[in-house]
C-alpha cells in the first residue's frame, strides 16, 4: 500500500514541469491534505484518489488553465495551419494538386538552380534570360546540378533545422525572382508602333489623342497656321505624331473654342488652322456650314502669324530648296497673305482677362 508521502511525491514528480513558484504554491500543503484523506478511511489512497498521475492532471487543470494554455499557445500556429489544411483537403482540386505537385519537384529543382545562376550573373552586371557565354552556361549547369542534388538529399533524409530554413529562404527568393521576370518579360516584346500607325490610318480620329499643352510650344499656342514654302496658307492640314495619333491643342487654358459645325460630324480637332471663336464672342452660337473649316471671319482671330511668313518671303535666296523657284509671285494672287491678315486682326490679347 502506498503511503501518503509516496503518493505526494509521485504527484510532485508528475508536476515537475510547472514553474517552481507555481508548483510550490500549489503543493504547499498537499502532504497535510493527503494525510487527512488517508486518515478518513482504511482504503488505500490509490483506490480512492486514482493513480498519482491522474490526480496531478486534475490538480493542474483545477489550479489554473494558465499552465495548460501556455502549452496550447506554442502549438496554436501549427494547429491552425493543420486545420486550414484539413478544410482545403476536402476540395477535390486541392487533393489533385497535392498528389500532382510532388511529381513536379525535379522540374522545380532545375528551375531553382537556373534562376539562382542567372540571379548571380545579374548581380554581376549582365542581365538576360538566357546565358550569354559558354562560361555562363557552365555556371548555370553547376547550379542546376547542385540544386537537384540538394532537393534529392533533402527528400531522402531530414536535414537539420537550419539547413531546412536556408532552403526555404532560397526557395522563396527564387519564386519571387521568377515571378518578377515573368511579369516584366512583356517589356522585351518588339515595339508596336507600326501596329498603332496602321490602325490610325484606318481611322484617323482614334481615342488616342496627343494633346499639346498650349504652353509647351512657347507662349500660349492655341492654333496653328501652316504655310507652304511659297507663303500660301494651307487649310485643312491634319497633323499626326510619329505613332499616328492626332495632334491637338489644349484649348482649356485659352479663351477660344472650336466653332461647332452645323450639320454632320463634329469638327476635327487636329485639322489646322482650327476654326476658333472666342468664348466671349457674342455670335459664338453660330455654326460653320459643314465642310468649310476656315471662313473669312475666323482667320483674323489668328494672332500675329507673321513670323512664319517672313521666312518664306526671304527664303528663295538660300539654296536650300531649288525647286521653289517660282515663289513670291503666286502668293500675291488671291490667297489671304499672312501680313494682310495680321493687319486686319483686332488682336485678341486685350480681351483676355486671365
Amino acid at each position: 500500500m502506498i503511503t501518503p508521502d509516496r503518493y505526494a511525491q509521485a504527484v510532485r514528480d508528475a508536476l515537475a514541469d510547472l514553474p517552481a513558484r507555481d508548483r510550490e504554491e500549489l503543493l504547499e500543503d498537499l502532504d497535510d491534505h493527503l494525510a487527512e484523506v488517508a486518515a478518513e478511511s482504511d482504503a488505500p489512497l490509490e483506490e480512492r484518489l486514482g493513480p498519482p498521475e491522474a490526480y496531478a492532471a486534475e490538480l493542474r487543470a483545477a489550479y489554473g488553465d494558465r499552465t495548460v494554455a501556455m502549452g496550447k499557445k506554442g502549438r496554436s500556429l501549427r494547429t491552425r495551419l493543420a486545420a486550414s489544411r484539413d478544410v482545403l483537403s476536402r476540395l477535390p482540386v486541392y487533393r489533385h494538386a497535392e498528389e500532382f505537385a510532388p511529381e513536379l519537384r525535379p522540374a522545380w529543382w532545375v528551375l531553382r538552380g537556373y534562376v539562382l545562376a542567372l540571379l548571380l550573373s545579374a548581380l554581376s552586371g549582365t542581365r538576360h534570360i538566357l546565358p550569354g557565354s559558354p562560361a555562363e552556361w557552365v555556371v548555370v549547369a553547376a547550379f542546376v546540378v547542385v540544386s537537384v542534388w540538394l532537393g534529392r538529399t533533402a527528400r531522402e533524409g531530414r536535414p537539420p533545422r537550419a539547413v531546412r530554413a536556408g532552403i526555404a529562404a532560397i526557395n522563396a527568393l527564387v519564386a519571387i525572382v521568377a515571378m518578377v521576370v515573368v511579369f516584366t518579360a512583356g517589356d522585351w516584346n518588339p515595339r508596336r508602333d507600326d501596329l498603332f500607325y496602321e490602325s490610325a490610318r484606318d481611322a484617323p480620329v482614334t481615342q488616342r489623342v496627343e494633346m499639346v499643352p498650349s504652353g509647351s510650344l512657347g507662349g500660349d499656342v492655341h492654333n496653328i497656321f501652316p504655310y507652304s514654302k511659297d507663303g500660301r496658307l494651307l487649310e485643312g492640314v491634319r497633323l499626326y505624331d510619329q505613332e499616328g495619333r492626332p495632334i491637338t491643342l489644349d484649348l482649356e487654358a485659352s479663351d477660344y473654342r472650336i466653332k461647332p459645325v452645323c450639320f454632320g460630324e463634329p469638327p476635327r480637332t487636329n485639322e489646322f488652322p482650327l476654326p476658333l471663336v472666342s468664348v466671349y464672342s457674342l455670335d459664338g452660337d453660330e455654326c460653320l456650314p459643314s465642310g468649310l473649316n476656315v471662313p473669312d471671319g475666323v482667320a483674323p482671330t489668328a494672332p500675329p502669324a507673321v513670323p512664319p511668313v517672313e521666312p518664306p518671303a526671304q527664303q528663295p535666296s538660300p539654296g536650300t530648296s531649288p525647286s521653289v523657284s517660282p515663289s513670291g509671285s503666286p502668293s500675291a494672287s488671291g490667297s489671304p497673305s499672312p501680313s494682310s491678315s495680321a493687319s486686319a486682326s483686332p488682336s485678341p490679347s486685350p480681351s483676355r482677362t486671365r
Binding site: H33, L59, G64
Partner: protein, 115 residues
C-alpha cells in the same frame, strides 16, 4: 473532421461552477481542504474530485479571494483553514448572479422544449 454528439456530463458542468460551489461552501463557514470536499459531496455533488477541490482552493487563494490560517491539532495533521475575504465575497455575489440568470435561461429553454 468529426463531430461528436456530447451528452450533458455532470463532471463537465461541475468544472464550470466548481469555483462558485467552493465559495458558497466557504461562505457558510471556514473549512479545510478535505472538509470542503466532504461538504460538497454531502450537498449532492458526489462526483467532485479531491484534486479538483484542492486545486481550486489553491487557485482561489492565489487569486486573493481567500484567507487561510493553520490550526494545529493534537491527534491529526495540521489543518489549513480557508475563509472568504472581501474579494471572495464579491466574487461569490457576482458569480451567483451569473449562475441564477444562466440557470433561469436554461429552465425556460427546457420548458419550451417540453411544451
Amino acid at each position: 473532421m468529426r463531430t461528436t454528439l456530447r451528452c450533458v456530463d455532470g463532471s463537465q458542468l461541475l468544472k464550470g461552477v466548481l469555483d462558485l460551489a467552493v465559495l458558497a461552501v466557504l461562505a457558510e463557514r471556514d473549512s479545510y481542504g478535505y472538509d470542503v470536499v466532504r461538504r460538497l459531496r454531502e450537498a449532492g455533488l458526489t462526483e467532485v474530485g479531491d484534486a479538483s477541490v484542492y486545486g481550486t482552493l489553491r487557485r482561489l487563494f492565489r487569486a486573493g479571494a481567500l484567507t487561510s490560517y493553520v490550526v494545529a491539532s493534537d491527534e491529526g495533521p495540521h489543518r489549513k483553514y480557508y475563509g472568504l475575504n472581501d474579494t471572495g465575497r464579491a466574487q461569490l455575489a457576482s458569480s451567483a448572479r451569473t449562475w441564477a440568470a444562466f440557470s433561469a435561461t436554461m429552465d425556460d429553454l427546457l420548458k419550451e422544449g417540453r411544451a
